[in-house]
């Protein structure tokens, strides 16, 4: 098939079912990289990672290396991390600070906005047709930020960032609003994790309330036991997070899930977030100082467990977790998990959120271990031909003001992801 013009692939997804081929076929994976990840707005990083001019952080968008950099003019830009001369990475490592970029192959240098600055022995180009004006590092076609979260799109055309995020952006608003100083920063490291499954298998699990009591049986019982044995609040918190997967079908069926345009979705919270620990009460008081009592109640009362920004980012607003989903191959996905610190909040708020990350997002999580095993089993299972289609019809949905309402027992959010998949895949690129 001609990967540029073949749009028949969109027929592999219908409303309520998906063909098995979409999880394992390398040609389809390549097409997804071009048509979905090559078009959508993808999370690059957070502005707090590059507070000063010359600060930069590297990232990967649809397998392509990029640099997020703060320019001399204070603007944050996203450049392809590749030298215009013979292609070498210009920045290495996770990030740092530079006055200007210098390629370590032949020593070309570039300003912070990517403009070519100098070429050693530039005179050698005299009479060769070399055009200095075409030798800048390239900007990723579009970059923009939403309340500190920096996104980029590899496509020159398409909806702007605000239109892309749509009503799901309320989840990012809620995260920022929760900070007593009204600002977030990346703090406390990052978990870089690998999953041996197609990226879509992971996304299909994000609000799947029907799996928890089956998949997490091995951990929620021990979690309950540990919660009652715990002598300190942080240990009890971690054990309760593990125990929370014991929600029965009635409880899961009462959790509202909302599906938005372009594949995004969110789910109401079910883990204990408020507490009567002194640090938490202190936090609420600090937030009230900025927002007042009523608004504070509204902000803290907006309890979303997680939100998915299709196709590459997910957040847990209450616990300040941010996941970046990077497909590496049809059967290999990298997920990086960051924690955001609320500026102005007591130290233990961040410590609690770090403890949440340690419990559910660490490679050692006893909750995630069983999810990962199941994702692998799906990946190994889908290549069996048999009935060619997989079912996504569980549960209904009803139109709401800003999106379709369903519950954590419904596969409505999955159907919504596949409507977005089909829309992206049906258009030539």
């Amino acid at each position: 098939m001609d990967v540029r013009t073949d749009t028949s692939v969109a027929a592999l997804v219908e409303d309520g079912r998906a063909n098995r081929r979409i999880y394992a076929d390398p040609a389809i994976f390549e097409l997804e990289m071009r048509r979905i990840f090559g078009r959508a707005w993808l999370y690059v990083g957070h502005e707090s990672q590059v507070p000063k001019a010359g600060d930069y952080a590297t990232a990967t968008l649809a397998r392509q290396p990029v640099i997020m950099v703060r320019g001399a003019d204070g603007a944050v830009r996203v450049l392809f991390n590749s030298c215009p001369h013979r292609g070498a990475l210009v920045a290495t490592g996770r990030g740092g600070h530079v006055e200007s970029f210098r390629c370590d192959y032949h020593g070309w240098t570039f300003r912070l906005d990517g403009a070519l600055q100098s070429i050693p022995r530039e005179g050698d180009y005299a009479g060769t047709g070399f055009d200095r004006a075409c030798a800048d590092m390239r900007l990723v076609p579009r970059a923009d930020s939403y309340r500190g979260f920096v996104f980029a799109s590899l496509a020159a055309d398409g909806p702007d960032l605000a239109a892309f995020l749509g009503p799901a952006a309320a989840n990012l608003d809620n995260m920022v609003d929760r900070a007593p100083d009204g600002e977030l920063e990346i703090a406390g490291g990052c978990f870089e994790t690998l999953q041996r499954n197609n990226w879509k298998i992971y996304l299909e699990n994000l609000h799947d309330g029907a799996h928890a009591m089956i998949v997490h049986q091995s951990s929620f019982g021990p979690g309950k036991a540990a919660a009652s044995a715990a002598a300190d609040p942080l240990t009890r918190f971690r054990a309760e997070v593990v125990a929370a997967n014991s929600q029965n079908y009635e409880q899961m069926g009462a959790l509202e899930v909302t599906s938005y345009a372009r594949g995004h979705s969110d789910m109401r919270g079910f883990r204990r977030a408020a507490s009567d620990e002194p640090y938490y009460l202190d936090y609420v008081a600090k937030l009230e100082e900025r927002l007042g009592k009523e608004r504070t109640e509204a902000v803290l009362g907006t309890q979303r467990h997680n939100a998915m920004f299709y196709p590459g980012m997910s957040v847990h607003p209450v616990f300040m977790q941010l996941r970046v989903i990077q497909p590496l191959a049809a059967d290999l996905t990298r997920v990086d998990i960051w924690v955001l610190r609320m500026k102005g909040a007591p130290a233990w708020m961040h410590r609690r959120n770090v403890a949440f990350a340690n419990t559910v997002h660490s490679p050692s999580s006893i909750v995630k271990a069983d999810d990962l095993e199941i994702y692998t089993r799906v990946q190994r299972g889908v290549v069996a031909e048999g009935e060619g289609w997989l079912d996504q019809r569980r549960g209904t949905e009803a139109a709401g003001a800003d999106g379709a309402r369903s519950t954590a027992l419904s596969e409505a959010f999955i159907r919504n992801q596949y409507r977005a998949w089909r829309d992206y895949m049906a258009a030539e690129a």
């Binding site: 703090a187 406390g188 490291g189 990052c190 978990f191 870089e192 994790t193 690998l194 999953q195 041996r196 998949v215 049986q217 091995s218 951990s219 019982g221 021990p222 979690g223 036991a225 540990a226 044995a229 715990a230 002598a231 240990t235 971690r238 054990a239 593990v242 990298r334 998990i337 924690v339 130290a347 961040h350 410590r351 770090v354 990350a357 340690n358 997002h361 660490s362 490679p363 050692s364 006893i366 995630k368 271990a369 069983d370 990962l372 095993e373 199941i374 089993r377």
Partner: protein, 159 residues
Amino acid sequence: MSTPGRAEVEQFLIEEAALLDRGAWEAWIALFTVDGWYWVPASPAQSDPFDHVSLFFENRPLMLMRAERLRHPRAHGVAAPIRTSRVVGNVQLVGGGDGGDILARSRFHMTEVQDNRQRVLAGTCIHRLAATDEGLRIRVKRVDLVNADTPHEAMQVFI
């Protein structure tokens, strides 16, 4: 108990590794003091387990929670058993800690096999040990993986 020397500490670390290789989780956890901690940082030279994420950061209730899950008949992640082989070496006593504790540094190599996959984890362990009437007990075991900050697949068993 009289202050143990390097040879006794080495013997203790070898026996500790053997308990882990046998999957004798509860016996291994019993080597910790009641307020003991097990810590595997997520970054090299990480100084803090509270404000920075860790691969493992567990006290006894959390270690027991992990052990109980590993024994659960529906622990899908270990439906295919995990087998490990550890080699402990380069044991050094690096001075006393607080209140007569012993600080020991050692190196380890651990080969882990599950299903048809094999990986090697290696690094440095720092044990803060208390000499008690029942023998040596672990106050803190810190494991610095040489690849602490590279992408990881699941880590289900204690390292």
